[in-house]
Subunit: 470 residues, 2 copies
Amino acid sequence: MSDLCFMTVGELSRLIRQRDVSVREVMDAHLAQIDRVNPRVNAIVTYLPDEGRKQADQADQRLAKGEIPGPLFGLPVAHKDLVVTRGIRTTWGSPIYRDFIPDQDALIVERLRRAGAITIGKTNTPEFGAGSQTFNPVFGATLNPYDVTKTCGGSSGGAAVALACGMLPIADGSDMGGSLRNPASFCNVVGFRTTAGRVPRWPALNGWGNLSVEGPMARTVIDVALLLSVMAGPDARCPLSLPDPGTNFLQPLERNFTGTRIAFSKDFGGLPVDVRVTTALEAGKPAFEAIGCIVEETQPAFTEADEVFKVLRAFSFASTYADLFRTHRNQMKDTVVWNIEEGLALNALQVGQAEIKRTALYQRMIRFMDTYPFMVFPVTQVPPFDVTVPYITEIEGVVMDTYIDWMRSCYYISVTGMPAIAVPCGFTPEGLPVGLQIVGRPQDEMGVLQLAYAFEQATRTGKRRPPAAE
Amino acid sequence: MSDLCFMTVGELSRLIRQRDVSVREVMDAHLAQIDRVNPRVNAIVTYLPDEGRKQADQADQRLAKGEIPGPLFGLPVAHKDLVVTRGIRTTWGSPIYRDFIPDQDALIVERLRRAGAITIGKTNTPEFGAGSQTFNPVFGATLNPYDVTKTCGGSSGGAAVALACGMLPIADGSDMGGSLRNPASFCNVVGFRTTAGRVPRWPALNGWGNLSVEGPMARTVIDVALLLSVMAGPDARCPLSLPDPGTNFLQPLERNFTGTRIAFSKDFGGLPVDVRVTTALEAGKPAFEAIGCIVEETQPAFTEADEVFKVLRAFSFASTYADLFRTHRNQMKDTVVWNIEEGLALNALQVGQAEIKRTALYQRMIRFMDTYPFMVFPVTQVPPFDVTVPYITEIEGVVMDTYIDWMRSCYYISVTGMPAIAVPCGFTPEGLPVGLQIVGRPQDEMGVLQLAYAFEQATRTGKRRPPAAE
């Protein structure tokens, strides 16, 4: 295993720019790591090593000719298999699209490429991204590198595992109910769900849809910030675009948090949470105090969040998949069929009332955050679980009624529309990663990054704990 | 009639700041104009002259003590009767709320007040703002000052008439299907529908709703820009807030449009338009050429716009009024009942499919506007019509099926989410005002204001044509 595979983006970029290593060397190191580790974890499911090497050589030539390298110059990347890639198979984890090859790149792919990243494949995802467990009938399951009998979470599971194992330095993901955060938590990496419009989505069937967002994943907060600087910024094709330039996120992450009030909640005020998660979270709490925060155990009431999310998710599934459902229902997994059927059974008023309840929740959150500009929660109510279990049906004795119930700690935040980052917090006694979720005020991605960075620095304990499969 | 009643905001503010006139004098002039003209047109329906005089005197005292005046210091304003005003009756034009007195101010009211404007009442609107004709059972109809047998349009009808008659220098309005633009067109003033989030809405039942926007109305483009500078800018209570500061709109409006390509369409590619409107529009066309634009008669295809708007409007009505409908249906006008029932009959999938079609339309518009950054259309397909007619049922021989069909030239633009301004263009042979609609790229309010300003300057013909009722 090469040291190149576990550097930060900053370190790697510096070596490339100073021509201490060639892009080809960086590429070869990562391809070697993929060849060695990926067969054990199944994170990268469409793999283009020859194309990667070719583009790496071209990048080296352009650098030699004096090209000014973009912010991600020469870095290998693989895209979540829910985003379209021109000329590269894109399956959505569905057998229906087993051999589908799009003729255009998603905007996020275009932006990464323009910043100099080199696409070497696609990362695994559950079928249509449904459920925070990465398995599908096309490619099978992606395994947790800290224990390959466990799930890596999802839906950006392939991305999280590829990062954890040093197969990629950066990755993209997406998040409706937790899909950037849950796999980050399960794999000891960082995933950032931003405000809708911060990372413009295109193509998107519903351009005004704001529940699902795309975003950055990496091994450190500073790498996530750098990646966000490339992904963010307006594009006319996305009507929700926030106009701030992405380069805003290149500002220093250092900030004095002395006196900043933080609401710290181990259970959202009543959700069942596995004791191994709460224990890890408790252990992380002093770090916020160490950087000067005033930490109080409190939270706003998430009263409407559950119903709102379920209605809006079902509405989204029905809207997105109604046509496909008519023609290919027998090739869809049961949970997806259920979610579409739930949506097809809704009337318009139920959707409208969910938006109204969501707004009431949002207003309560905003008022709460006048006092507490940041909130800290668990990312996921359970640690990584057996990969043969499709979804959690019980937590601490509380039965989950649907396949998404166990994702509440993530989707309660999704419905608020607020930016939320998952950062590594600790490990269970068995050595499984546990993440912590920092939520900030709407559009305050910078504040969230700064607090996550401060937390990361305060909890850095010398040597990182590498995954077993690495 | 005092000259003070027809000055621009800039002129009026200068006089106040230089203490050439007192705020009280400005107030008295406008109150006198209201007392003289309003009984003939019924624009201001809740009227607080004593409060206006009191606050004017206080403003003069504060100015004498050295207070730095805000951008709207000392200007009288009245708010559309769809926005809540603390301690001031707010009826929505509905007998259900005949005596309703809110306990909070809408954000837009709060911002105008903080900028120094003085509230002297509320402006008339159709019942629940439904239909571009301003009449309701609480206050009756608002009449067109250019011919009091005609409608002033709506739903921001009271605002437009108050401006046209010199009863107010500035006003606020709102626009789902044309309510800032249609009354501006019918009354020879300026109304600006901006991108959702440019003027944050609060309170709003559905904070993420983006079809209805609030915005500025005035007699000139530069006054509208100044008013927008106060109304715009983010507020955490509105999740769609665009982050740019409102002060951006204080930049000069002068711009060289030489070589700018403009799509000019008299009929949206096939809508029936009254020949008096197309004639006025044709007469306005050379002004765009005079300022250097390349004007081409073309338009994008608005294929999905009609269905999309009708579904989303019905969805919005059902969501907003379902509870009230159950308890007070017999106190609602037929068209509102119809619109709610249309919405209650929708299923969620129909709403989702409308959003998908809307996105397809948006993407086509964006591509079209890569070539033509601005589009020019009629505001309304007909000139002001008889005030006893609740809505238009036929245009140039084409039958309108619903009460909103005749508003297509406005709501086709609403569904795209693009900024659109209505500016005075000319008059019919009978002397009725005809407006022209300039549409710009999403979030490009500044470009729209600049082009509208250039058009206004190019068509300024010396003396303004005052309304007969003035």
